[in-house]
């Protein structure tokens, strides 16, 4: 699975990619559970295997996030209009659409980052594995531990590389030195940056390049052991080489995490995602597997957008 994904990433012709990709039909999904343990290592393994349902070779992937009739507002402005969507577990779901269409707003509802905006409110159903994410008594601290986020611009803390990764875990419980060392190494390895930084763990994270900083931010998000990773245009501030590194990383991480990525780069959406959802003016126009959206979109607006006729 991983090998196929890597070869897709290298391909330059976006139209041919979905065809080259194995259909996420029965054959591909059936192969996934068997392949997973080989990739998953470290402290995430037990957590993952212990979960009921993951071992079952279901015909369709389990739904991680359920959205029904979801609307949201900033003051009197309605940013999202009655969304219905299922985001499958341990796949990459890409949100595409022109600027201001509400995709980032929606992403920020999933980990309730919109709580920091006083005028933001939402209605409808938004559930993570059956837990109501809009409940007023929801523990947002625990939610954000389960749903990590990577931002548009790399935002490492002005601390050492080690302390950046250790910051999250330390918030939630106390670790012994060796446990923490191990967790930091695992997280940096999972984010494919360990080899580059292992000799300077205690120097400032601000000395890293933009692409390295972004992978460090991914390591930081992974370190708290989330189930879902939200990525808000994670490559928009990076050069092509760093973008490639992040995309390859996303492929690897999709074996273990449910990933939701907002992107303005159509090729990127095609390269990395299993599912694509097209947003326009606060509405979810079309959602489905990436190759369906890419090859035979049902909606004219979707087709116009992905072929670059507008947006």
């Amino acid at each position: 699975m991983s090998a196929t994904r890597a070869s897709i990433t290298m391909s330059t012709e976006p139209k041919s990619m979905p065809a080259a990709d194995t259909n996420p039909g029965p054959s591909a999904t059936a192969a996934t559970p068997a392949a997973k343990p080989a990739h998953a290592h470290g402290h995430h393994v037990e957590q993952q295997l212990g979960k009921p349902g993951t071992a079952a070779p279901a015909s369709a992937a389990m739904t991680a996030i359920t959205v029904r009739g979801f609307s949201s507002w900033y003051g009197s402005f309605q940013a999202l209009k009655s969304l219905d969507l299922d985001i499958p577990e341990r796949q990459v779901t890409a949100f595409i659409g022109p600027s201001g269409c509400g995709k980032s707003t929606f992403l920020r509802w999933i980990n309730r980052m919109n709580d920091t905006i006083a005028s933001a409110r939402a209605e409808g159903t938004l559930e993570l594995h059956g837990n109501d994410l809009l409940a007023s008594n929801l523990d947002v601290v625990d939610l954000r531990r389960r749903v990590g986020m990577v931002f548009q611009k790399p935002n490492p803390f002005p601390k050492s590389i080690y302390d950046n990764v250790a910051f999250g875990p330390r918030l939630h419980r106390s670790y012994t030195r060796s446990e923490l060392d191990q967790l930091v190494e695992q997280s940096l390895r999972a984010a494919s940056i360990w080899e580059e930084v292992k000799d300077r763990l205690h120097s400032s994270a601000l000395g890293l390049s933009g692409g390295q900083q972004q992978r460090l931010c991914i390591a930081r998000a992974i370190a708290v052991g989330p189930e879902v990773l939200l990525m808000d245009e994670p490559c928009s501030a990076l050069d092509p080489k760093s973008t490639l590194a992040i995309e390859e990383l996303i492929e690897q991480l999709a074996d273990r995490y449910t990933i939701v990525i907002v992107t303005h780069n159509m090729q990127q959406a095609a390269r990395v995602s299993d599912q694509t959802a097209f947003f326009f003016e606060g509405r979810l126009i079309e959602a489905g597997t990436t190759e369906t959206i890419w090859n035979k979109p049902k909606n004219k607006q979707t087709e116009d957008y992905i072929t670059g006729r507008f947006g």
Partner: protein, 311 residues
């Protein structure tokens, strides 16, 4: 032809404006130079180790600044120990926690205004609140409450009277608004992406403020606070109102001791008719200037040292 004339006229205006600015700068520098030269000419010879170490005396040649210097140190230390935690905590609350409401705007405006209130007004407040305690605990000659032996370090009485503690607290009132404003500005300069990054890892607002925002703002807070302290060390008016203790025989033993401070010692000596006292006043001014320079130097050093990793 007319274009050339216009250029010539503009060049003339340019030169005239340059000359005006230069004249203004020169005037300011000249006044400062005259002040410094006259003080150094008068006071340089009087500076000696025995001048630093001697107690006050009725004879100018025997008098020294030891009591005033130590008094200034006590007052400034008390002032800093109270003003910094109070000021930083207030700024943290206003910037990071308080919802922007009419009440917080009112508080904000008041703090801005307080920074501009003449310091003698704070002297009157300090006299009422700290030295006399609104008359709630009897008079200064007949204290309602005393704890400990008047000779020991831990002696405390209510009301505080014109003691070194009252002096420090009064100066605290003078610089508190400055510390608050400086800290608020330092906090505002911390990129909001760092706060989002911490919150997205599941940090509580308190963990975000204490673990990320405050450390990132420390250089700015330190610079602002040290500049506030250099104002405190030069203040005389509020302490004149407070006690008027212009002749004190010894350095403070405890928080309830009478005290002298350098600016008031200078005032005392300079207002005497004898020439010889004017000379030692000039020597004391040199000491005061060196202390001020030291404070500002430390502020610059800290800014240089700490702000680098943030950029």
């Amino acid at each position: 032809m007319s274009a050339e004339r216009s250029i010539a006229r503009r060049m003339l205006a340019n030169r005239a404006f340059l000359a005006l600015c230069l004249a203004a700068t020169t005037a300011a520098m000249l006044i400062l130079a005259v002040l410094l030269v006259s003080i150094f000419a008068q006071g340089w010879d009087g500076l000696s180790w025995s001048f630093m170490k001697s107690l006050p005396s009725r004879k100018a040649e025997k008098a020294g600044i030891w009591v005033a210097l130590i008094g200034s140190l006590w007052v400034c230390a008390i002032c800093a120990l109270v003003a910094l935690p109070l000021g930083v905590a207030t700024a943290l609350y206003l910037e990071e926690f308080a919802r922007k409401s009419r009440l917080t705007r009112l508080i904000q405006t008041n703090i801005m205004n307080l920074a501009g209130v003449p310091s003698i007004v704070y002297g009157i407040l300090g006299l009422t609140a700290f030295a006399r305690m609104f008359g709630l605990f009897g008079t200064n000659r007949d204290e309602a409450l005393t704890f400990g032996d008047p000779e020991s370090l831990f002696f405390v009485r209510l009301p505080f009277g014109s003691s070194v503690l009252s002096g420090g607290l009064t100066l605290m009132l003078v610089i508190l608004p400055i510390v608050i404003i400086a800290t608020q500005e330092a906090l505002r300069a911390v990129p909001s992406s760092l706060r989002s990054g911490a919150l997205a890892l599941g940090a509580t607002p308190w963990q975000t403020a204490w673990g990320i925002t405050l450390p990132a703002a420390v250089p700015g807070i330190m610079t602002g606070s040290i500049l506030a302290m250099s104002r405190a060390i030069g203040e005389s008016a509020p302490l004149l109102v407070l006690g008027g203790a212009l002749f004190v025989s010894g350095a403070p033993d405890n928080l309830m001791s009478d005290f002298a401070i350098l600016p008031l010692q200078i005032y005392n000596w300079a207002s005497r008719p004898q020439e010889s006292f004017h000379a030692i006043a000039a020597s004391a001014i040199i000491v005061q200037l060196v202390a001020l320079l030291l404070f500002n130097g430390i502020a610059v050093f800290i800014r240089q040292k700490l702000q680098k990793p943030l950029q």
